[in-house]
Symmetry: C2
Subunit: 359 residues, 2 copies
C-alpha cells in the first residue's frame, strides 16, 4: 500500500459525513498524507457527527455544514475535488424499520445527489461509497463473498443496495469512477458514544458500559460477527481510491470473526474487568438479525492487496484507551451538542479559509 | 384461472396509478368481477393518467386524486382494502437519467409509503407491485429468468429494484403478503398517446404514427423485445393477487418476442399500410439500451398457471381499432388535460360516493 501514501499529497478530497466515525478518521489520515480536505456534515443530532472528532486537525480542514440531500450545496462542493468519499448516512437498522422513508432519503437520495452533482459538475472525480454487509441479509453460505445474493432483511440494507446500484450505474453509463465497499462491523476511536441504548451498534455500547463499570448486555450471544478496526477500514478506502483497477467494482471488507459472547469475554479481559448479563434477543431485533455472518475479503486482498492489520485485542485496547482519555467529548449528548456550538466558531462566515481548503 | 373470477367479488381493491395504462385496464376488469374499486392517481401532466381511461366505469369506481408519496393520504386510503395494486410510477428510462431524484421519489419512496401505511393500518391487505424487466440490465443469457443478476443500466431500474426489495422485505419481516411482477413491454388500449416524442416507450409511439399516416422511426432495429398485451398483464396481476402461494415471490411476465424491425413490419401489415424510416439509435438511448432481451415466464406458468393468450398480431389489431375509435380522447395533451378537468366534476366534494366505494 506504499502507493497510497503518495497518491493524496496536494489532492482535494471531499468527505461527506466527515464529522462522523469513519469520515473523521479518514480526514485525519488524509491530512497526514498532505491532502486538502473538505468535510461535509449535517450534524443531525441523533447521529455520530461530532466536531471533537477533528480535534487536532481543525486548522487543516475546511468544514461545511450541509446535508447530502441538498443539491445546491452539493453542486458547489463537489467542484474541483479529486476524490469524493460518499460516507454520509443513517446507519441505524432499527431506525430504518421505524422510519424507512427518512432512511431512504438520507442513504439513497443523499448519495445519488452527490453523484448527480459529480456527473454535471465534476465527472472526473473518483467517488468512494461505503455500503454495508447487511445487503446480504441472512447468509446462505459462509464466509459471504460478493457474489452472494442480496436478500436484505432491514430497510437500511435496501437503501444501501440502491445507493450501490447508483454508484455502479454512474460508472457503467456515465463513466464516473466509482467504487463500493461493503463494510462489516467497524469499531475504534471517534465512534458515537452518546447513545445509551446501543441502537446503532452493540460494540460502542459495550465499550461505553465497560468503561462505566456497567454489565455488558449480551443479547443472544451465539451470533458471529466480523470486526474491522477503523484504521484498516480507512486504509481500504484510500487503496480503493488510489487504485484505478478498483473503478466500477464492489468489495467486501472483513476482519477477525468471533461470537458475541466471546467478544464480550475478550472485551472484559482487555479492559481489565467487567461482567456480562445475558438476555434474549428482543423481538424487534430478532426480526432483522442475520444470525451468524462474516465476510470474505478475498477479492480486495487479491485485487488491491488489502488486508486487516489490527486484530481485535489490539484494536479494542486502543479504543478503550482513547475513550478513557476523551470521555468528556463523547459521553453525554448534551455536552457534545454544546461543545459543538463552541467549536463551530472555527468555521464562522468571514473567517479566512484554512490552508488546506480549496480556493 | 377460473378461481380469479370469483376471488374479487365484493372485495375492496385500491389501485395506485389507477388512471394510467395498466391500472385503468385493471380497474375495468375488477369492476366486471364485482370488486369495489378505489383509484388513486396524481394526474401528473406528463405521465399517462387520463380520466378517459375510466369512461364507462366512472359511476362504479371511486377516484381519489393524490400522490403515493403523500403519507397522510395513503394512511387513510389503504384502510379496509383487501387488495392493493401498487402501480403508480414514473416509467420513463430517459427521464430517470435526466432527473434520477424525482424517479427515486416516485418509484421507490412512493411504493414504500404505501407499504408503510399498510404495515401500520392494514397489515392484512395483499399488495401487488409492478416492476420492470429493466432491473436485469443487459442480459447475460436468454431468455432472462428471475435468477438472472440485477445489473441495472438506467436509474428507473434502480428505483424499481429498491421498491421490489421493500415489498419482499415487508413480506419477510412484517408478514405482509406482497408479490412483485417484472413486466416486460406492455401494450394495448388506454396507453398514453399524447407524448409525440416516444420518450416512455416506442410501441405507443409507433401506433400513433401509423394511425396518423406518418413513417415509423426504427432506431436501430435489431433489438429484440417481448411484448405482453395489457389484458394478459392484468390477468397476471389478478392471479398473483388471488393465489396465496405467490406471497413473497417475484415473477417475470413475458410474451411473443420479436425484433423491432419485424415488429414494425407486422404493425404495418395489421394497420393496412405504412412505411419505415431507419435511423441510428441516438447516443442517449444507446447508453441505456439493453440490446436483445426477452424474459422467461416459466416460473409464473409453472407456479400460478399464467400464460399470455393474446398474440402480437391480434393485440396490435385490437389496439389500433381502439385508438382509431377514441383518437380525440388520447391524442392531444391539451385536449386530454381540458377534458380531465370536466371529467373531474364527477368526483367533486359533496357528491354521494358511488355504489362501489368503501363506506
Amino acid at each position: 500500500m506504499a502507493g497510497t501514501t503518495r497518491a493524496f499529497a496536494g489532492k482535494r478530497c471531499l468527505i461527506t459525513g466527515g464529522l462522523g466515525f469513519i469520515g473523521s478518521n479518514l480526514a485525519h489520515r488524509l491530512v497526514a498524507l498532505g491532502a486538502r480536505v473538505t468535510i461535509v456534515d449535517s450534524l443531525i443530532p441523533a447521529y455520530g457527527g461530532n466536531l471533537h472528532n477533528i480535534d487536532h486537525i481543525r486548522d487543516r480542514v475546511h468544514v461545511n455544514i450541509s446535508d447530502v440531500r441538498d443539491p445546491h450545496a452539493m453542486q458547489v462542493l463537489v467542484r474541483g475535488q479529486d476524490y469524493i468519499f460518499n460516507l454520509a448516512g443513517q446507519i441505524g437498522h432499527l431506525e430504518s424499520m421505524e422510519d424507512p422513508q427518512t432512511d431512504l432519503r438520507i442513504n439513497t437520495e443523499g448519495p445519488l445527489t452527490v453523484l448527480e452533482a459529480c456527473r454535471r459538475y465534476n465527472p472526473g472525480a473518483k467517488v468512494l461509497y461505503a455500503s454495508t454487509r447487511q445487503v446480504y441479509g441472512k447468509p446462505l453460505h459462509l464466509p459471504v463473498d460478493e457474489t452472494h445474493p442480496l436478500q436484505p432483511i432491514d430497510c437500511n440494507a435496501v437503501s444501501n443496495i440502491a445507493a450501490e446500484h447508483y454508484h455502479r450505474l454512474y460508472s457503467a453509463v456515465h463513466g464516473l469512477r466509482t467504487v463500493c465497499l461493503r463494510l462489516t462491523n467497524t469499531y475504534g476511536p471517534r465512534q458515537m458514544m452518546k447513545d445509551t441504548q446501543g441502537r446503532y451498534a452493540f460494540i460502542y455500547y459495550w465499550i461505553r458500559r465497560i468503561i462505566d463499570g456497567e454489565p455488558l448486555l449480551v443479547m443472544g450471544g451465539n451470533q458471529t460477527r466480523d470486526f474491522t478496526y477503523v484504521d484498516d477500514c480507512v486504509g481500504a478506502l484510500l487503496l480503493a481510491a488510489a487504485e484505478p483497477q478498483a473503478d466500477g467494482e464492489v468489495y467486501n471488507l472483513g476482519g477477525e470473526a468471533m461470537s458475541l459472547r466471546s467478544l464480550a469475554d475478550l472485551l472484559i479481559q482487555v479492559a481489565g474487568g467487567g461482567r456480562i448479563e445475558l438476555m434474549e434477543l428482543p423481538a424487534e431485533r430478532r426480526a432483522i438479525d442475520p444470525g451468524k455472518v462474516y465476510l470474505s475479503y478475498e477479492k480486495i486482498r487479491r485485487e488491491l492487496g488489502w488486508e486487516p492489520h489490527v486484530g481485535l485485542a489490539e484494536g479494542l485496547s486502543r479504543t478503550i484507551a482513547f475513550y478513557r482519555q476523551h470521555r468528556d467529548r463523547y459521553w453525554n449528548a448534551a455536552d457534545v451538542a454544546e461543545q459543538q456550538i463552541d467549536a463551530l466558531q472555527i468555521v464562522r462566515p468571514g473567517d479566512d479559509l484554512p490552508p488546506s481548503a480549496p480556493s
